[in-house]
Point group: C4
Chain length 488, copies 4
Amino acid sequence: MEDVASHATKEDCWVILHDRIYDLTHFLSRHPGGAAVILKVAGRDGTAAFAAIHPPDMVDILPESACVGQLDPEAAAARKASAEVDPEEKERRLRIAKCPPLEACFNLMDFESAAQTALSPEAWAYYSSGSDDEISLRDNRAAFQRIWLRPRVMVNVLNVDISTHILGHPASLPLYISATALGRLGHPDGEIALTRGAATTAIPQMLPTLASCSLKEMTDARADGQVQFYQLYVAQDRDHTARLIRAAEDRGCKGLFITVDAPQLGRREKDMRMKFIEEAPKEQDDSTAGRNEGAARAISSFIHPGLAWEDIPWFRSITRMPIILKGIQCGEDAVKAAHAGVDGIVLSNHGGRQMDTAPSGIEALAESVAALSAAGVPPGQMELYMDGGVRRGSDIFKALALGATAVGIGRPLLYAMSAYGSDGVVRAIRILQDELIMTMRLMGTPTVQDIQPGHVNARMVSVHSSSVPEDSLSRALYKPLVAPKSKL
Amino acid sequence: MEDVASHATKEDCWVILHDRIYDLTHFLSRHPGGAAVILKVAGRDGTAAFAAIHPPDMVDILPESACVGQLDPEAAAARKASAEVDPEEKERRLRIAKCPPLEACFNLMDFESAAQTALSPEAWAYYSSGSDDEISLRDNRAAFQRIWLRPRVMVNVLNVDISTHILGHPASLPLYISATALGRLGHPDGEIALTRGAATTAIPQMLPTLASCSLKEMTDARADGQVQFYQLYVAQDRDHTARLIRAAEDRGCKGLFITVDAPQLGRREKDMRMKFIEEAPKEQDDSTAGRNEGAARAISSFIHPGLAWEDIPWFRSITRMPIILKGIQCGEDAVKAAHAGVDGIVLSNHGGRQMDTAPSGIEALAESVAALSAAGVPPGQMELYMDGGVRRGSDIFKALALGATAVGIGRPLLYAMSAYGSDGVVRAIRILQDELIMTMRLMGTPTVQDIQPGHVNARMVSVHSSSVPEDSLSRALYKPLVAPKSKL
Amino acid sequence: MEDVASHATKEDCWVILHDRIYDLTHFLSRHPGGAAVILKVAGRDGTAAFAAIHPPDMVDILPESACVGQLDPEAAAARKASAEVDPEEKERRLRIAKCPPLEACFNLMDFESAAQTALSPEAWAYYSSGSDDEISLRDNRAAFQRIWLRPRVMVNVLNVDISTHILGHPASLPLYISATALGRLGHPDGEIALTRGAATTAIPQMLPTLASCSLKEMTDARADGQVQFYQLYVAQDRDHTARLIRAAEDRGCKGLFITVDAPQLGRREKDMRMKFIEEAPKEQDDSTAGRNEGAARAISSFIHPGLAWEDIPWFRSITRMPIILKGIQCGEDAVKAAHAGVDGIVLSNHGGRQMDTAPSGIEALAESVAALSAAGVPPGQMELYMDGGVRRGSDIFKALALGATAVGIGRPLLYAMSAYGSDGVVRAIRILQDELIMTMRLMGTPTVQDIQPGHVNARMVSVHSSSVPEDSLSRALYKPLVAPKSKL
Amino acid sequence: MEDVASHATKEDCWVILHDRIYDLTHFLSRHPGGAAVILKVAGRDGTAAFAAIHPPDMVDILPESACVGQLDPEAAAARKASAEVDPEEKERRLRIAKCPPLEACFNLMDFESAAQTALSPEAWAYYSSGSDDEISLRDNRAAFQRIWLRPRVMVNVLNVDISTHILGHPASLPLYISATALGRLGHPDGEIALTRGAATTAIPQMLPTLASCSLKEMTDARADGQVQFYQLYVAQDRDHTARLIRAAEDRGCKGLFITVDAPQLGRREKDMRMKFIEEAPKEQDDSTAGRNEGAARAISSFIHPGLAWEDIPWFRSITRMPIILKGIQCGEDAVKAAHAGVDGIVLSNHGGRQMDTAPSGIEALAESVAALSAAGVPPGQMELYMDGGVRRGSDIFKALALGATAVGIGRPLLYAMSAYGSDGVVRAIRILQDELIMTMRLMGTPTVQDIQPGHVNARMVSVHSSSVPEDSLSRALYKPLVAPKSKL
C-alpha cells in the first residue's frame, strides 16, 4: 500500500480497483469523466468511487499492461474487513439514518423527499437534473394535471383487477421499471435492488446499458418467472452493439428497448454545475477545461448519432426479441415506427433530460394515438408505452385511457432505492398498486379493459400557455384581504 | 376505578364508555380505527374520545359479554361533576377563547380561519383534507372563479325574494346543509348544532350516516316544520341498509340521498399523516402496520363497493322518500340517472375527498345540463343539486344560473360550528342570505325564477390549464420595477 | 366650550359642527354611519370628522330644533386660529411629509404608492377596497394586459394630436375625471382639488352626488370654459332627485351620468374590517350590532333600488342635459340603452366595488360594441365610455381602439390628490398625456381618428382562466436552477 | 490643471475631454443629457464619463471656439500614467474581480447574472430596462416557452451543420449581433469587444448609430472577411442621414438596417428612476426639471418621427447596400415592406424597450409569415429576421422553424462583454453554437435547411392570457401537503 501511495501524481498515477493495481497515468487524459476524479483517488483504493459509476467489467477496457500488480490477498482481506470505515459510505449511512421511517412514505413524492436526505449532492444532481431550463422535466408532471378524470358511478366494483400483460408477459399492474443509469450512485446494491423489488411485486424490469451492475449480475439476480427487458444505447461500434444484444437475449431478456432519443446527451446544467463546483478549487489543469459536463455526458460518449430508420432490419436480423423504440415524441414518428414494423414504442422525452420543451410522454401518447388512427394503423398492431412524470395510480389510469398498454417509471424507484434499498422499491410499487385499485374503483372500471378514452378529459394536454408577465407595480400595491385576527 | 386502571395493557384492556365498563381485549385487533387509539384510554374513561367519533349506540356492535360491569352511580355522578377537567375539553375551550368575535366573521372563509384556531390538529386534518394532491379540493373553489357574471341593470329590484323549494319543501334560500361525518370532532353538540342552525334559518338539513350523533338525537332535535333528509352510505349488509332507510323515513326524513361516489374512500394523506405522527412514537405493535389510514377510512370500512344501477328498484321498493343520487360526476351518468327515474341528483366530487382531478360539482353541473338536454330529458323531470366550493352568495347564483335547484354546503358550517356552535352556523347562513340578496339585486333578478343561463359566462369552467413551468434562471434575474421610496 | 363638554354621553350628546352646537342625542340611533362615530366627538368639535365625509349643507337634514346654540364668534375665531393643532390634521401632515417628491412619480401607480403613505388607514380602506374577494377590482387592471398592441411603423408621426370631443365638448385628451365619493377623506380641499386639476389640464370633470364638497362649492370652483358633468345616484325620493338634477343643470353641468349599477352598494370587506377594528373596543352598545358595514354603505342608504328602464322618459322630461347611463356591464343592456335613446353609456363595474366577478369595463366595451353592431345600432348613435383599471396612456389607446370615445379615471386621481393636492392631479394627467402621445406615435396613429380595432389583439379579453391548483408535494421538491455564485 | 479647476461653476464651466480643454458654459442648457452630468466633472477631466456615452468624434458638434486650450503633452502623459486611479474604473475592476470565473457560465442567463455584479447600477439600469411595465420585455422570453418542439428520431445526425448565409454572407450559425447603444457603459472596449467576438466566431455584427465607439474605430477593428452591417437611426437632418449611410457603405458595411420602431424612444422607468435618484440630491437647478428621462431619451433626441413608407426610394437612391427594416411588428406591415421591395425585415419590439404590450419578435414572425403567404408574397423574396428574448440554441431553432433566416441578439452579449470583455462574447456565442448543434441533433435536422414548421407547436405563441386574480382569503387558508419529516 505504501508503494501504491507513492504513485499519486498526474505524472505517475496508480489506483487500486477491486484489489488490482492499475497505472492510469496514460489513461488520465482519455477518461471520459475527466482526469480530476481519478486524481482524487491517486495512490489509493478507488474501488468505491469507481463502483458507484462503472460495472466491474468496465476495467476490461484498459490495456492489459495497465494492471501493474495485485494486492496481496491478506492485505485485501484486511482492507475489506475495515471497509466500513470508507468515509463516503460512512457519510451515506449517517444520511440514511436521518431518513423518515419507510412507513411514513405515503406516495411517490415522499420517496423523492427522503432521497434528498439520503443522496450525496452529486448523486442528487445527477439523478434529478433535466436539460436546459428543466421545463420539460417539470411539464412531465404538470401534463398529467391538465388531464382530468370523468368518473362513472353505480358500477359494481367489488372486485377490481389491475393486472395486465406487457409484451405478452403477465404483470401485476400496467407498470414496468424503466432503465436508468448509475444505480450505485444511490445505493451500494445498485440495479440489483430494483431487480429484487420488481420480483417481489411481479412487474417487469428494463435493464440499462449504463448500469452500475453488470448484465450478468442483474440477470443472475432474476427470480423465477421474473421478466426482464434490455434497454440499448446503440454504440458507434456495430459489433459491440451486436454483442450487447446477443448477451441480453442469451441471458433471458424478453424485449429489446432501443433508445432513439439520445443521439447526443442533453445539457443538464444542474449536474454540470455540481461537477464544476467540485473540481474548480482542486484542479488548475488545462486539460480538463471544457470537461465540466457532468456525469451524464461523461458516461455516454460512445453513443452513436447515426442510428436511422434504415437500421431496423439489421436489429431484426440479429435478435428474436421483440423490438421497441424508446423515445418517440411525435405522431409522425409513431406512424413511421408502425410502418417499420416494430413491436412497440415508448412515448417519452427521456425524463426531461434530452430536448427541453419537447412534449411529455403523455402528451406525445395522445398525439400518437390520433396520428396512428388517422394513418389507418390498426389498434393493437403495436404496443404503446409512455414514461415521464408518473407519480400516482391515477396517472397510470390516465395513460391507459389515452391508449397505453403500460407505463414505465424510473426516478421514483431510484429515489425509493436510495433511501430504503429494495424495501423502498417494493413499498413504492405497492403504493401505486393501492392507488390504481382505488382509482379504478372510483372510476367505475373494474378491469384494465374497461378503461376507455371517455374516462378522461384531455383537451388541455397539449396547451402550453403562460400568464402575461405580472405588472409588478400594481401587484406590489395590492394589499390582500385578511381573515379576522385571533385573540392574543 | 382502581380496578379498571389495573386492566390497561394490550393483553388485558378495559375501557369505560358512557359509565359502563367494557373488556376490549379481543376487540383490539378488529377495531377499524386500529388498536392504538383504544390503548390510549385503556384502564380509563374513554367516553370523550369515543363520542367524538361514534354515536352512543355504536357500543351495541360489541357482544353483550364485553360489558364487564357498570360504574357505581355515585362514582359516575362524581366523575361527571368533575367532567370539565377532561384535559382535551380544557384545551378546546382555551382554543375557543382565542377565536375572533363572531361578529368579526364577514364571510364563510372567516369561519374557516377561526376554525383553524378552534379545532385540534387531528380534527382539522380530518375535516380539511382532500384526496391525493388535493387538486380537486381546491379546484372546487377555483371553478366558481372561472365563471363570470353578466349583470343586468335598470331592473326594479326593490323587492328581492331569495326563497325557493327543495324537493317540494320551502327553503329560505336555495341552500341545504350537506351531510358530513363526525360532527363531534369539532364541537360537543355535534350534528345537533347544525340542526338548530338549520331550524333558525329555515333551510333543510341532510343527516349523515356517519354522524357522531345518533339518528334519534338528530331527529328529536328537529324543530316544528323543519325539513331533514337522510344521506345513505350503502352497507355490504343489505338488511342493515334497509333498516337504516326505514328508520330515517319513520323518523320523518323527507328525502333519501344515496352516496354513489364512495365505493371506497379516497386517500386523504393529510389525515393519514396526522394519524401517523400521533401513533408512531407510542406503538411498535406490528398489528397496526398499514393501519395509518386516517379517520376517514377507519369509519368507512363497511361501505359496499357493489352498488349498481340495477339496485335502484330495490330502493324504490322499500321507501316512499324521493331518491336522489349524490356524487354524479359526468353527463353520461346524469342521463343514466334520469333514465333510472330518480328524483334528483347531486353533482359533486365529495368535497374533493374521493377521486383527485375529478371535476368540481359546478363543472359537472354545466356538463350534465348539456347532456340531459342533448338526450332529450325534459327540464325539471329531475332536480339538480351541486355541492363543493360554495363560499359566496354569488356562487349560489352561478349554480342556479347553470341549472341547479339548490346547492349544498358542508365544511363551512362544520367550521362555523366548531368555533361558535350553532350561533356560528346561523351567522354563516345569514351571511349567505345577505350575499345572495345583494347578488340578485345587482344582477337584476328579483326572484330565483329570473335567474337564467345568460347571466353567467361559463365558457372557461371546464378548462384545466397550467402555466408552462417557469424558467427559473430568467425569472431570478428579473428585478421588478419599484415605486419611489417614502422619505425616512 | 365647557358647557358643551358636559354633554358627552349616549344619553346626552352635543357636538359642534361648523361653529354651531347640535344636540344629536335623538339622532344617534338614526345615523346611517352608526352612533359610535358621533360619540367619539361628543362634547367636542366634530367639524373635522364631519367634513371628511359630508358636505357642509348636510347639516340641513337635522331638524331646526337640534341646533341648541352657536359658538361665541370670538371663541370660534380663537379655535380656528389654533385649528392646526387638530390631531388628525397634524398626523396627516406628518404622513404627507414622508411622501416621495412629486417629481419622483413617473406613472399612475407611483401616486397610489405615495397615497399609501399619505392616507389614514381608514381612508385607504375606503378608497382602495373592492367588493367580496376583490377579483373584479384586480381584473380591471389585468384585462388591459390581456389586450396586446399591434403597432404600425413608417407612418409620419411628427405631429401627434391627442385631443378629442366628449359629448361635443373639447378635451385635451380622451379622458374625464369620473365621480368618486368622499374626496375630503383624502385631502382637505376635497373634490375642489380635482376641479382645479381638470381645469389646468383641460379635461371634463364628473361631479359626484356623494361629494364631500357641496355642488355649489364644486361649480363655483369651475374655471372659464371648464366642462363639468353631474353623476347622479337616484334617491328613493323622486322630488329630491329632481331637485338634484335641476340644481346641476342650473349650475352649468353639461351632462347627466345616471349610476345604474348600484341599486345596493357592494360588500367591501376591507372597509368593513377597518371600521370593525375601530369600533369594537370602544362600543358594546347593541344598537350598532350589524352596523359594521364600512363607510360605503353608511353614506348610501338612500339609493333607490327600483330604478328601471321605464324611468328614462321621466329624466328626459326634467332636464335638457344629455343623459348617459353609467354602469352598463353586458351587451344586452347596451342594446337596450341604445333603444331607450340615451346619449351615451359608461361600460363599468364601478371600480370593482359592486358585483364581484362582473366583467371589467374594457371587457364589457368589447362585448357591447359587438352586440350593438349585431343589433344594427348605427355606430356613433350613442357615445361609449368605459372606466376601471385605466393606469397607462396605452390603456386609453386600447379603449379607443375597441370603440370608446373616452375613458374615465377615479381612484388614481384621488390618490394623486391625497398625497399632493391639485399639483398631483395635474401631474398625473400630464403623465397620461405624455404616455398617450408616445403610444400614438409608436402605434403609427397621429390622431384619435386613426385608432382602429386592427391596432389591438383583444381575443383574450374575456378569457377568465385559472391554473390547475399546484401539486404542492412536487413543487416543494423541485430545486430551481441557480446562476453561478459571485466570488466573496 | 489648477487653471481648469478654477472654472467649475454653472456660470463658468470648463471640462477636459481627450486632453483638450472645453468651455461648456453655453452648452450646459443645450446638453440633451442635462446640465447636471456635465457639472459633475466641471473643472476636471471628464473623459471617462464622456467616453462611456459618446464616441470620441462627438466633440465635433461643439463650435471650434469652445476649445479653449490643450493640455500640455507632458501633463497629459502624466495623467494617463496615473489613469488607473480613476475612481470609477477602480470600482469597476473591484466588481469584475467578484464575477464568477468565465468557465462557470453555462448559458446566456449566467452572463446576465455575472453582469449584475460587473455593471454599475446606472449601466445596469440602462441596459436592462424596458418600457412602461416591462411586460413585453419579459414576454420576449416567455413567448419562446409557449412554442414547443416536436423532435424526430432515427435520423442520421452524425454530421450536423449549423452554418448558413445572412444577406448572402456566410455565418457560422444563423445568428448576428444586433445593434445596441452605449457599449462603453459596460466595458472600456465598448463595441470593439463585440467586433472581436464576432470575428472569432464568424458571425455578422450590426454596428449601432448610437455606439460609444466611432464608426471608424468599429470598422478598423474588423478582421479579414468579417461581415458588418450598419444600423441607422434616421435623423431629422436628411443630409446628416445621407452622410451616415455613405460613411457606412464606404467603410465596408454590407447591409443597412433602418430602425423603424423608434419615432420616439419609449419610457424606461427603471432607467429614469436611477437617473432621478442620482441627481436629485445634487441639483436644485430648475433648468433640469423634467429632464429625468434616463440615458435612453438623452441620447436620442435627434431621431426623426416623420420617417414613412414614401422615404424608401430615397434610401435606395443613395446606397447600394441591401435595405432591411428593423422593428416590424405586425403582418400588415410585413406585407407593406414586401411591396416596398426591401431586402429584409427584422421582426422586433426593440428588446421590449419601445411599446409595452407590443408582441415579441417571435410572435410577430409567426404572424408575418402567415400574412405574407396570404398576400401571395413568394417565400424568399424578402429575408426575415427576428430579435428579442433569444437565450438558447433551441430559441434559434424555433425562429428558423417559423421562417426566420437568422436571429439577432443584443443584451446577452453586452452582459458577456461587461463581465468578461471579448472572451465573454466568444464564450457566449460558442455556447449558442453548442446548444444549436445539440438541438439540431436531437430534433433530427442535420442542416439548417431541414428545419421546417412541423418541427414546432406554435399554436399558443400569440395567446396572452392571465389567471383570474387569486382569492386571497381562500388561498391563505389552504395548508399545503408536506413530505414526511427527516429525523433530527
